[in-house]
Amino acid sequence: MRPMRFSRRDLLKAAAIGAGAFTVQANAAEPVTPTLVAAATKEGKLAFYTAMDLPIAEKLGKAFEAKYPGIAVRVERSGSERVFQRIGQEMASRISGVDVVNSADAAHFIVWKRDGWLAPYLPEEVARHYPAQFFDPDGLFATTRLWLSSLGYNASLVKPEEAPKSFADLLDPKWSGKMVKGHPAYSGTIMTATFQIVRELGWPYLEKLAKQKVMQVQSSTDPPKKLALGERAVMADGNDYNLILLKEAGQPVEVIYPAEGTPTVTGPSGVFKSAPNPNAARLFQNWLHSREAQQLLVDVSRQHSVHPQVEEKPGGRRLSDIKLWRDDPVGVEQASDDIKKRYAQIFKV
């Protein structure tokens, strides 16, 4: 097990050093210029392909529209693996639909970079503030958000003392027929989480889990919602941020960060070379990684930002207090086809 622990303070330190060290990037960095805004406004629209929870993505879009009137953001929301397949299909037919893409599977950016589909565009704030591990040196993408694939339970169906504490606890027969989980062939969060679960616990864990009559949904945003409905008592994976939002909205749901460690997921964004609205795309990419947008994202979605100036709401659980599993996009890129295949064999769907 290789738990990764980093605190926001570390990030800040890294950024402070980075500010001096990355002058090369700072030179290549792109500010928001009046020319860019004018050109973007002339285009008047952009398509934002993303996997983040739809209401949150729409809120970001509306905030951008408020800041830059006259540019309409159309959110195309689906699971990351589905988005990946759709973009591949569209590109193969030379249809350019996507302007900016945000995926929950960081491995996709390795593929898109290799295929030469991404446009180099390094927003000024990314170059100046983001730790180096969170953006591409060629400026093709930057990490927009960071969150966890946790466990969780419905507190009106399960008493806190009886709730599972770890992945191992989920294999207890008492949870048979009571769990819900997302699908790695649909969701980037679940793909990333499954990769880390396999790395840390091995396939036998998933084989045993599959015998627990798990309700199989698609998106990682759905298990939290199924918990809130009371449809299932425990979620075996899914994202933590929807659970936190639901809890804040008064629903009886609780997040569990499993004892073995919690899968970490990063969601980068990039501009496509073939973007039909290239200026609006760049303006959006720039804005999306600004302190302003990142603060909004953290506030409305309870995800984490790698922008060191962004403040987290007090009271929430800090990343540094959670035992985290390391995110490994390179590993996911190599393993993803195999994971999809084996997963379908084990879970039958």
Partner: protein
């Protein structure tokens, strides 16, 4: 009915024979619609990754349990659903068409409502009602019986649940076919039987049932095929339960990395089965065919039910609870609640979902626009194509009419999702790149609608005896003129019904659309499916209800177009 032809409208002129151009034109259209995508499918079914000939795809298909299980499931599903549809639709059709049960028109309108409801929307509504733990009906059950939390009355995430939900939205096909057939059986035949001493039951057994049998059999077949090729409901209900049907399996083969060869191979057994079933239907019905609309017609005779008519009405309304009242209630409840499966009251209702769909959901406007544009275009073009082909084949107007008939019926055997793949393979590459435009969806929707539209109109043509047309021809009218002035007006109801049928079909369509849409050409069904995958049930409820309202408005409007007379919803 008398047909009067003013003399000045029947000049004796010799016209050019349009048969050959018409044949060639329509054959060409059908090739674009059907032959090209089908050829690609066959090609892909028999090649491997490198493009070399192989039977390996079929070997995988019939030995790998991952494929055999879904195939068996699909057959169980289609057979059960077909039987249930007949059991529900036959008595209902008879009650509505041949008895004095009250509220018969209302019942027809309500069946129309269940037909207009997209099956995937119905499936989602039934999740709200009968999910084992959160379903509203299960909550009521637990509240009433004091049963413990993990006990449930209904579990929609099961094979039985899936069969039930599919039947809810497939039985209208059987009902409409049967009710229309019963409508057309003239009362004089039954009167004749009664005069000759036949009792009610004898008349029913010897006259009414044999006359209605072809329609019931056709209905059972349509229900079977509809169920077999349905994608949305199984995707919504079967996958959470951990099993696949053929369509969801084929769909999963297009997850990255896509395996079109296996998908093509997997679709060929469905194709074969459909052809066999259509043959079997022909064999059973033999040469039996009844032209029941002739120059003269008596009104259908209504059976007096007496006091039983209230029992009959109660029976019908209990059936209609399942596809209409309960799901619509659940959707309305979800539209106004914070959590989709909690009961709305004055204390906790919210307009958040409505605000979200109208002011935040940025993909909604384009999707609604695309959907209705495609609906109107497909319905208009589809009806035109179907009416000409149906006429040519029903009247054997030109040599080669059989080919046209076969081509128009062939798509019935192709699951929408497979057609989507075929069209994608055909039109996502030069010379004709239609992928990414609405045209490819238009082609898909027309193709999917064509078999039923054609069958509907063909049976309508068949039921109009040729003696009326012959009369016009004897007076010197050309074929096209006869079609326009005589047959067309007689078939007005059927034409409107077919238009509405295709229009509603487009609204219901998900399986081909899910393969063919791009972000610019998204339709509402795909949007709803996306929302379901991310669990946004409140937004689905609002969007679904908007959809239903607009669809009803269009259907009612079309039925009220001046000049189209008083054609009613009943035939849709």
């Amino acid at each position: 009915m008398t047909i009067a032809l003013p003399a000045e409208n029947a000049p004796r002129t010799h016209r050019i024979d349009l048969s050959w151009p018409v044949l060639i034109l329509f054959a060409a259209v059908l090739c674009v619609l059907i032959v090209l995508p089908m050829s690609w499918l066959f090609y892909y079914g028999f090649v491997d990754r490198t493009g070399a000939f192989t039977l390996g795809n079929f070997e995988t298909l019939f030995t790998d349990p991952d494929f055999v299980d879904p195939l068996v499931t699909t057959l169980i599903l289609a057979t059960s659903s077909s039987i249930i549809c007949c059991l529900a639709a036959a008595p209902m059709g008879w009650l509505v068409a041949r008895t004095d049960m009250p509220l018969r028109r209302t019942v027809r309108a309500l069946v129309t409502a269940s037909f207009v409801t997209p099956p995937f929307l119905g499936a989602i509504a039934w999740e709200l009602l009968a999910a084992p733990n959160s379903g509203l009906l299960n909550k009521i059950y637990r509240a009433v019986t004091d049963a413990p939390q993990d006990e449930h009355l209904l579990n929609i995430y099961s094979l039985a649940g899936l069969i039930f939900v599919i039947s809810c939205y497939t039985f209208p096909y059987v009902f409409v076919l049967l009710a229309n057939a019963l409508d057309r059986i003239p009362g004089d035949l039954e009167d004749a039987s009664a005069i000759l001493g036949g009792r009610t039951w004898t008349t029913a057994r010897r006259v009414t049932i044999p006359l209605a049998m072809p329609a019931l059999l056709a209905g059972a077949l349509v229900a079977f095929l509809q169920t077999m090729t349905l994608f949305g409901s199984p995707a919504i209900l079967a996958i959470p339960a951990g099993f696949h049907t053929m369509t969801t399996k084929i769909w999963s083969l297009f997850n990255y990395p896509p395996k079109p060869e296996l998908a093509a191979a997997a679709s060929l057994p469905l194709l074969l089965l459909t052809i066999l079933l259509l043959r079997a239907e022909k064999l059973i019905l033999g040469r039996r065919g009844y032209s029941v609309v002739g120059g003269k017609q008596g009104n259908p005779r209504l059976v007096q039910l007496g006091k039983l008519k209230w029992a009959a009405l109660a029976f019908v309304f209990v059936i209609l609870l399942c596809p209409v009242f309960l799901p619509y209630g659940a959707l309305l409840n979800a539209a106004f609640s914070h959590v989709a499966t909690s009961f709305v009251s004055f204390n906790n209702f919210t307009l958040r979902n409505i605000h979200f769909v109208f002011f935040e959901l940025s993909a909604a406007k384009l999707a609604v626009k695309n959907t209705f544009l495609l609906g109107v275009a497909s319905a208009t073009i589809g009806t035109l194509i179907a009416v000409v082909i149906a006429y040519l084949t029903a009247r054997r107007a030109i040599a080669g009419h059989r080919v046209l008939g076969f081509l128009a019926t062939a798509p019935v055997a192709i699951p929408g999702i497979v057609l989507g793949v075929g069209l994608f393979l055909s039109y996502a590459r030069p010379p004709l790149v239609l992928y990414g435009t609405l045209w490819i969806l238009l082609i898909a929707f027309i193709t999917i609608a064509l078999p039923s539209a054609y069958q509907q109109l063909q049976s309508a043509f068949r039921s109009v005896h040729t003696d009326i047309e012959d009369a016009a021809r004897i007076f010197g009218a050309s074929r096209l003129r006869t079609l326009r002035d005589i047959t067309g007006p007689l078939l007005r109801t059927s034409l409107i019904a077919t238009w509405c049928f295709i229009f509603v079909g487009v609204i219901r369509e998900l399986s081909a659309a899910i393969m063919l849409f791009t972000s610019e050409t998204k339709v509402v069904s795909v949007l709803i499916f996306d929302l379901n995958e991310s669990g946004d049930l409140g937004a689905i409820a609002v969007l679904g209800l908007i959809m239903l309202v607009i669809t009803f408005a269009v259907v009612i409007l079309v039925n009220r177009i001046p000049g189209f007379g008083d054609a009613r919803l009943r035939s849709t």
